[in-house]
Amino acid sequence: MKLLKILSYFFFIGFLFACDGDDPEVEPTAPNEPNAAQYENGFLIANEGPFQNGTGTVSFFDYSTNTVSNNVFQIVNNRPLGNILQSVAVHNREIFMVVNNANKVEVADAETFESIATIENLALPRHFFGVDEDKAYVSLWSDGTEGKLAVIDLNTYTVSSEITTALGPGKMMLHSNGELYVPCSGGFSSDDKVSIINTATDALIEDVLVGSSPVGVVEDKNQKIWVLCAGKFLPDFSGLEESGSLYKLDPTNNVIEFIFDFDDFQSRPSNLVIDSDGEHIFYTLAGSIYKMSVDATDLPSSALFSASLYGLGFDPESGYLIGSDAGDFVSNGKIMRYNPENGEKIDEFTVGVIPNGGFHFKENNN
């Protein structure tokens, strides 16, 4: 359960620890479990919203009632979130909504969902990561020529500095050793690195070379790092020039321990998640969801179940896999809950337009 405990430090989901702002390992400021804010007692769903003329919306799955409420931000604040909601995170009892095309992060109270602040001037932000009480990172695709993490001062909700990463930084993961892993998929072009950041000094430690287009990073029960790489399209997109791959890294020196090659030159794997015990990883490939033990030496030969999912998440609270279905991308989508043991669908809920994989779960497993 070490992983769980570590994770809880950084997502402030109901564990009580003291915080000292500098060392992310020992700085919990989260409230007591009984005092969890209203919107911490469930998980949040990012709906990107219709492209071009639309606005993203946030949906909330309430554990106490097993129901979903939609469009929460707009209903409470009487204004839209903005164009393309990429992801949601909760930190310091505040909800951070990363609005990609509006170049901002909206901040709301996790108890009331009332707007607190808007962090502006972020060039194509993707994901939010709360480092401590005073500091957070937001990954930026920027103008496509460089990747960045914006360092946010959470007292003023402004950008205090920037860290340069490889191209197209995505969803960040803090390892139990205190280093932050940032998969850099290339953004508008292609890249093949995981940028590693020292969260105390805001310095880039190194860029680890992996397969083409890394889209997700997780840490398993043995503290090993798993990186899912989507692969590289042929110039004419008729297939893949480089197939997708799964990298297993040893975090002590960031050397590659194992490479699992998908050897599929048509479809790209996506959506890497891990269960709360750190024992199994899940990913999607060509309309199917695969489950793999972190001790396995081969990729799974058969799928756990079939579904055309746009996003995937693992809900530590219920222990269910959560899939999002964006349908035709101009209608309300839905989320489904699946049993991770056999892939059986438990239930489904209508959410907003284009629900993606930018969930926030109560005990985020990164």
Partner: protein, 664 residues
């Protein structure tokens, strides 16, 4: 490079075409003297068709013959230069939104604006400029904001599918734009200046000369606006009053026309239309800012030879278009340049077999070239050819007319289906006409659909469907008060509707959807001629259900839902009063609620807009001066046509047109 090679080929073709044309011209010229004039016949036919307008044709003029003779059974709405002149600083998109029954999807003043005819999509409108299709090779649409209203002399809207007459894209309707010569008009000049709110400045200069057999005309214009109107930003807390940013545009263009009656009954026409447009692309309210820009440039040339011999008239036409679209977004270091060229050659002939039967045959060839860095091999080209035949019957008393048209287009990958049209008009009583039409229409996949990488799908089928309509037109004259009523019911079902949807890591177009549009249209017009003027009142109401009959499998629950951005209710009232030199116009339009998602779970509210236009003409022996003033959106209504794209509130335009008289 491949592209250069294509260019050379294209110039060779162009050259070849000119040679063929000159040869034909000389050959015909030598026997031209023997021909009959035949214009009276044409005139009567055209008057029959454009009965509710003053659309009279010049002596040798068959360019709109397809529209004139073979629209039997169709609903046609025409407007002429007088209506255009009153609002000449507007784009065709703005003008259509004000005066026509077409729903215009505007992204804001000067921004992209597309049309929806009878509940269909933006690429389901065919637009023809003197017979040449203008829809983009790349995306199948035409941006109506790039079409200055004052560059055309006349326009006609044909509602409903009509693949046989107009080919690919004529699914929801057709907009026909016409430029015409004014023979015997002597020297004419025209200077127009219009100033309006938000930095709008429109200027146009034209000069022409018309003798008995020759008409030459040149017109240049520039239109620009800052578009920095203020609006209440409903995307922000407490809806603060804000100024529109990054929405300026500038358009400059030239239109040259040259018509020669080189024989008594033969005419050569050469038209050139060049235009360059620069605009800033404003952010939507849900984005924060934008630095994107779009530059469009195009040149269109059209050479037309028309003539008559006894019961036969003919038209040979060669048109060439070159277009360039440069989209830039410095925020993401994006520069995307699309280029396309189209060369269209067509020939058609009408044969008045006897008093009852008119027969038409036509052949068309198009060579399309498109280039974009995202296209497979960067450059793609296509040949398309079509055959067209029509026959029309009209009884002696003009009580019954019926026509049948059929077109077959041959295209690369997949040929279009054979598209017939059957139209009937019957006048059982002197004041009553009954119309009916059965028609098939289609739309070929665009270059983007076929070649865009990633996603382009060369296995696409053309969209196709059948439409039916019936209507009545009643007319009554009571003590000089002319009352006209039109009622139409229509149904139009389109299958294989092409939609882009996400697939394996990128979006790709597929033939996924079936849409059924049906509705009722009502128009009532009252007109009275007064001793020193006239008044005219035109009321319209359209009820259009346009529903998804078959959806992508993950969204079956959307079946039966209304298409997005397609209002069920639209209506308008236009009142015009003319007294001597004074003209007053009141325009009122209503556009009902539109859905913004296919699940019909979110919607934009409907809105009612009113405009007031006035003009006064001062006539002097040496000069004629037209003074104009217009108020748009009188009620200062806050509205959006496309979600999160604000439209301007009340705004004003003042114009002056000066016409010196050289022919004293």
């Amino acid at each position: 490079m491949n592209y250069l090679k294509e260019l050379k080929t294209k110039y060779a073709w162009w050259f070849f075409s000119v040679i063929v044309w000159i040869t034909c011209a000389f050959a015909q010229n030598s026997i031209a003297q023997e021909f009959n004039l035949g214009s009276a016949d044409d005139k009567s036919r055209s008057e029959a068709f454009f009965s509710d307008s003053t659309w009279l044709l010049e002596s040798v003029q068959v360019e709109t013959s397809r529209l004139q003779h073979f629209s039997t059974g169709s609903q046609v709405f025409t407007f002429d230069s007088a209506q255009i002149r009153n609002q000449q600083a507007l784009s065709m998109g703005e003008l259509l939104a004000n005066i026509s029954p077409v729903y215009i999807k505007s992204y804001g003043a000067g921004s992209l604006s597309t049309s929806s005819f009878r509940g269909m999509g933006a690429s389901h409108t065919a637009v023809l400029w003197n017979g040449m299709p203008l829809q983009s090779t790349m995306n199948g649409q035409l941006d109506f904001s790039l079409l200055p209203a004052n560059l055309v002399d006349r326009a006609a809207l044909q509602l409903g599918g009509e693949g046989a007459l107009w080919g690919s894209g004529a699914v929801g309707g057709t907009l026909y734009l016409q430029n015409e010569p004014q023979f015997n008009s002597g020297i004419q000049a025209n200077i127009a200046q219009v100033f309006g709110s938000f930095g709008k400045h429109f200027q146009s200069y034209s000069a022409s000369y018309g003798s008995k057999d020759w008409f030459v005309s040149a017109k240049v214009f520039q239109s620009k606006a800052e578009n920095d109107f203020t609006f209440n930003n409903r995307a922000k807390a407490n809806t603060p009053r804000e100024s529109m940013a990054h929405a300026a545009f500038r358009q400059r263009g030239i239109l040259l026309e040259n018509y020669v009656n080189f024989a008594k009954n033969q005419q050569l026409a050469f038209r050139f239309w060049g235009q360059e447009n620069e605009r800033e692309i404003p952010a939507t309210l849900t984005e924060n800012s934008s630095r994107a820009t779009q530059d469009d440039r195009f040149a269109r040339m059209l050479l037309t030879w028309t003539g008559y011999h006894k019961q036969i008239d003919w038209k040979l036409q060669s048109g060439y278009t070159t277009e360039e679209l440069l989209f830039k977004d410095p925020d993401i270091q994006l520069e995307s340049l699309s280029k396309s060229q189209t060369w269209i050659n067509e020939a058609e002939a009408n044969w008045q077999v006897n008093d009852w039967f008119l027969v038409q045959g036509g052949v068309q060839h198009q060579f399309l070239l498109g280039s974009n860095a995202n296209y497979l091999d960067q450059v793609q080209n296509q040949h398309r050819a079509s055959l067209l035949a029509s026959v029309k019957y009209q009884d002696q008393a003009s009580k019954l007319s019926a026509r049948m048209s059929v077109r077959q287009e041959f295209a690369e990958y997949e040929n279009a289906p054979l598209v017939p049209t059957l139209g009937v008009e019957y006048q059982p009583l002197t004041f009553l006409t009954v119309l009916a039409k059965l028609s098939r229409s289609y739309r070929l996949p665009t270059f983007n659909d076929l070649y865009w990488q990633p996603g382009g799908n060369s296995a696409l089928q053309p969209e196709a469907g059948w439409s039916q309509e019936v209507g009545i037109q009643a007319q009554q004259d009571l003590a000089g008060l002319n009352s006209r009523l039109k009622l139409t019911a229509f149904s139009n079902k389109i299958s294989n509707w092409i939609l882009w949807r996400p697939g394996n890591g990128f979006w790709s177009p597929e033939n996924v959807q079936q849409v059924w549009a049906r509705g009722l249209e009502a128009a009532w017009e009252l007109e009275k001629t007064l001793p020193r003027g006239k008044f005219n009142l035109l009321l319209r109401y359209h009820h259009t259900k346009s529903t998804i009959e078959k959806a992508y499998e993950a969204n079956r629950s959307n079946e039966g839902n209304q298409l997005i951005y397609t209002p069920v209710h639209t209506g308008s009232a236009n009142f015009t009063f003319k007294h001597d030199a004074l003209k007053l116009t009141w325009q009122q339009q209503y556009n009902g609620q539109v859905y913004t998602t296919n699940s019909n779970t979110s919607a934009l509210p409907g809105f009612m807009l009113a405009n007031f236009l006035t003009s006064y003409t001062l006539k002097h022996k040496l000069v004629e001066v037209d003074l104009q003033a217009q108020i748009y959106n009188i009620a200062n209504k806050t509205y959006e046509v496309m979600e999160w794209r604000p439209m301007p509130g009340r705004n004003y335009q003042f114009g002056i047109i000066i016409k010196p008289n050289f022919n004293i």
